[in-house]
Amino acid sequence: MNRQLNRLAVVAVVLLTVLIGATTYWQAWAAGDMKAKQDNAIQRVVQFTIARGLIYGANGKTIFAANVKKKASGNTLYFRRYPHGGLAAQTIGYSTSARAQTGLEESLNDYLTGSNTNLSGAFHNLLNRLGQATVRGDALHLTIRPGVQSLAQRLLGTRCGAVVAMNIHTGALYVMASSPTYNLNEVENNGGYARILKIRGDCQGASALYNRTTQGLYTPGSTFKMVTAAAALDTGAFTPNSTFYDPGYCTEYGQQVSNAGNPDQGGREVFGHLNLSTAFEHSVNSVFCNIGKQLGAKTILDYAKRFGFYRVPSLELPGNEKYASGLYKYTRRGRVLTDDASKADPGRLAFGQWTMLVTPLQMAMVAAAIANGGVVPRPYLVQKITGPDGSTIKRARPQSLGRAIKPQTAAELNQMMQLVVQGGTGTHAQIPGVAVAGKTGTAETGVDHIYTAWFACFAPADHPQYAVAVVLEKQENGFGGAVSAPIAKQVLEALLGR
């Protein structure tokens, strides 16, 4: 009988060995997959045992995201609180117990939870865990200036729109205001999320959750003339003094495209003889229409690409919260980017109508590049990341996205944009003692007298430092120069310390 007993023993040992193998599978092989599962109730708790890194404003004092400590079932848990709930809400984002995340809370989660550290950091965390000390995440120090951000949001009020302000040399983003906004602390309140979804602002448009600075795609209207003029001058085809005759319309495909419908045009309806600089100053559509026809849509799009169009901006927000600017077409799969110049109407593209859609961030980048002598700065939000011990883990290194236009072209555009503010369509942006350069835009929305009002500018024009782009949605008879320029002016004043 012993032979059978031996075999039975082997069966029993094999069964138990299978169990050791299966345990190894779950704890070593599948552990990563299991951790990533959305319904993992343990991870939902474990995330709270980590003290997430704080998120600071540029002044080093304002805290956008903090933690509240609570004792629960023997664990010390850390829950997220946003002391300035609605300030830069879409950019900061939220991190909930259901592990839903947005904004920087999502894209920099690895730093905030201390899981993206070097080897010594990982070792330190392991020791912390074994010693039951709390694992602490890294802190983010943003480029956002809380005071100016707050001012921009106040200026926007209940109107739908966005304000972006950046350093023209480094690309550091000082303001990322998207309106309407919402209180980040409300997300986890009972019924709070549903209430947030109901916030629609004056425009009754897209939700407050939406980051209009990087996700808002708007028809640029006349602000796009910055790009067209850049192409016109940089290719050498035109100079600021090139003369045109404006009959009050432009002929395209045998049809007249009238200036009369141009809400942005300052001054007379028919200018007659004028030069490029004056046409830019008064935003005369027929002139740009003819320039577009002569340059062709492809050249204009090529210059747009040099300014960063057609690329998803590289700033630290999650990939699904920032869009590329460019020509869009509507397909069965929804809105898609297209750079097929052969299908574009060069005349309408030249003054920013057609199917061109841009983000406020992109227009700020165009203004910044012109101010920066033609070099496009790479926008960023995080100045530095510091570890729990205060040591710097990562510091932003300002980079450029390359040269868009020659310094000469940039200087000429700078002059032309100053004229816009001095005596053209953008006089509301004047700041006493400071030269401001800007360009207005009033884009048609398809509904009569309802416009998207733009203003893109930089200052001081002689020694540029800051670029600002402002957009307001669905403005009834609201022109860029009248409604958006004053906001840009006050933001610039705050940035300049006036």
């Binding site: 039975l8 029993a12 299978v18 050791i20 599978y25 779950w26 599948a30 023997g74």
Partner: protein, 447 residues
């Protein structure tokens, strides 16, 4: 009348046992200490007295063994002590009130163990004479939960009874009775069975039919699998006819398919096993809504995978695991009974969980060694049946948790919370020690 030369052996065996028990006592102390350190705010230092109490209890068991079965294998008692200690520590960590009950059951278990040793110290083989009685008892215990007013359905399976406020799983004790019956019956009939004489198969077919009926009636897949596995294992050991085992497996599969077709509860278990995660919503029977399966039927299993995976290589440490949501709800139901392995795997990690399984393996190997060295057929089959049942039960529950086989609720021997389980496994321990004591005594006498 021990033979000359048996003296030193006797001393050495029991002293070894005592030494290992001291080691286990120290491990227990360390375990409770780490639970205490992890949760000072909730637990008082008095928890450490658990370790002392525990050691004293096993010291008592040791003394009984020293007096009644001096030549028994010195490893099985300390290993059983270690397993109970691991279980008790984890149960204590999960909830103090259950730990007090479990400790009480361990005391009862040790008393039953002592009574069994004392009662059967002269010759346990007299059990052989009552084999049909044990057979009837096994069947009777299995059917007990079906008696109206006595049984209760837990997790879709009807395997509990209530007597005077006590919850009891009679199937656990039935296991012991079944092994005694099978060992005695097969010892007597092994030659004629091997020859294939049909009328000798009667009682065995009754057992098969009984197990299948129980399977149908109580939906207790785990116990049916265990009973049937023990039956086939012992049948093979006694007759050496692998064809019988093959036929038995075939019959079992046929029965299982029939049950699968006929029982929604069993179909659910299999679906949970094959597809614990769904990407589309399926009907959730508990609330009648469309849900992802991982949020409904397979919630327990899936959260248990997460628990095990969270342990990783080194575990979170005793007392540091996460078993509750931020708002204090327990994540995995039945954590200290069916799912205690996933709690242990999280806190002890791969090192600890594999170590625990190795401890089971050592126990099983000692059990088979006892069986191999036993002098007579009944003793061999008895020890082998008890050991194989122990191993199989471990496989059924842990394999179910690890998704090796469909999950069926059954206890992890000596570790899970549950009185019937503790008591029956102490009887397993007593049986093994009785058999090995006799075998070693015979060997000593023969020398």
């Amino acid at each position: 009348m021990p033979a000359p030369g048996a003296g030193p052996l006797r001393l050495s065996l029991r002293n070894r046992e005592l030494f290992y028990l001291v080691v286990v006592g120290v491990i227990t102390g360390v375990g409770f200490a780490s639970v205490y350190i992890a949760d000072k705010e909730r637990i008082s230092g008095a928890s450490l007295t658990y370790a002392v109490f525990f050691f004293a209890l096993y010291l008592a068991a040791h003394i009984v063994a020293r007096l009644t079965v001096p030549l028994a294998d010195p490893y099985v008692l300390p290993i059983a002590a270690l397993l109970t200690a691991v279980g008790l520590t984890e149960i204590y960590r999960l909830g103090q009130t259950d730990a007090v009950k479990q400790a009480t059951w361990v005391v009862i278990g040790v008393v039953v163990f002592a009574v069994a040793l004392i009662g059967l110290r002269r010759d346990y083989r007299l059990l052989e004479n009552y084999k049909y009685l044990f057979g009837l008892v096994a069947i009777g215990l299995l059917f007990m939960p079906l008696v109206p007013g006595l049984g209760e359905t837990v997790n879709g399976a009807r395997l509990w009874i209530h007597v005077a406020g006590f919850q009891f799983q009679p199937g656990e004790l039935g296991k012991i009775a079944l092994v005694i019956f099978l060992a005695a019956y097969l010892r007597e009939k092994r030659e004629v069975l091997a020859a294939g004489r049909l009328k000798d198969w009667g009682p065995l077919l009754v057992i098969w039919g009984g197990a299948m009926l129980v399977l149908f009636a109580t939906d207790d897949l785990g116990s049916a699998l265990l009973y049937y596995g023990i039956f086939l294992g012992l049948l093979y050991a006694a007759t050496a006819r692998i064809a019988f085992v093959a036929a038995g497996v075939g019959l079992f599969l046929a029965g299982a398919v029939a049950v699968y077709q006929g029982t929604p509860h069993v179909r659910d278990r299999v679906a949970n096993w094959l597809h614990p995660w769904t990407t589309t919503k399926v009907l959730c029977p508990t609330n009648g809504l469309m849900e992802y399966r991982q949020d409904c039927q397979s919630y327990q299993e899936v959260q248990s995978f997460y628990s095990i995976a969270h342990g990783g290589f080194g575990g979170t440490g005793l007392g540091n695991g996460t078993f509750q949501t931020a708002s204090g709800h327990q994540i995995i139901p039945a954590l200290n009974t069916d799912f205690i392995y996933s709690a242990l795997a999280q806190e002890l990690g791969l090192i600890g969980a594999a170590g625990l399984l190795l401890v089971y393996m050592v126990f099983v190997l000692r059990g088979f060694r006892i069986s191999l060295f036993a002098g007579d057929g009944f003793s061999k089959l008895l020890a082998a049946g008890l050991t194989f049942g122990f191993a199989l039960q471990t496989f059924i529950i842990v394999g179910g948790i690890l998704r090796v086989i469909p999950l069926t609720g059954i206890t992890l021997p000596l570790v899970s919370y549950g009185g019937s389980s503790i008591v029956s496994n102490f009887l397993v321990l007593a049986g093994l020690m009785l058999v090995s004591n006799r075998a070693n005594a015979d060997l000593g006498a023969a020398r």
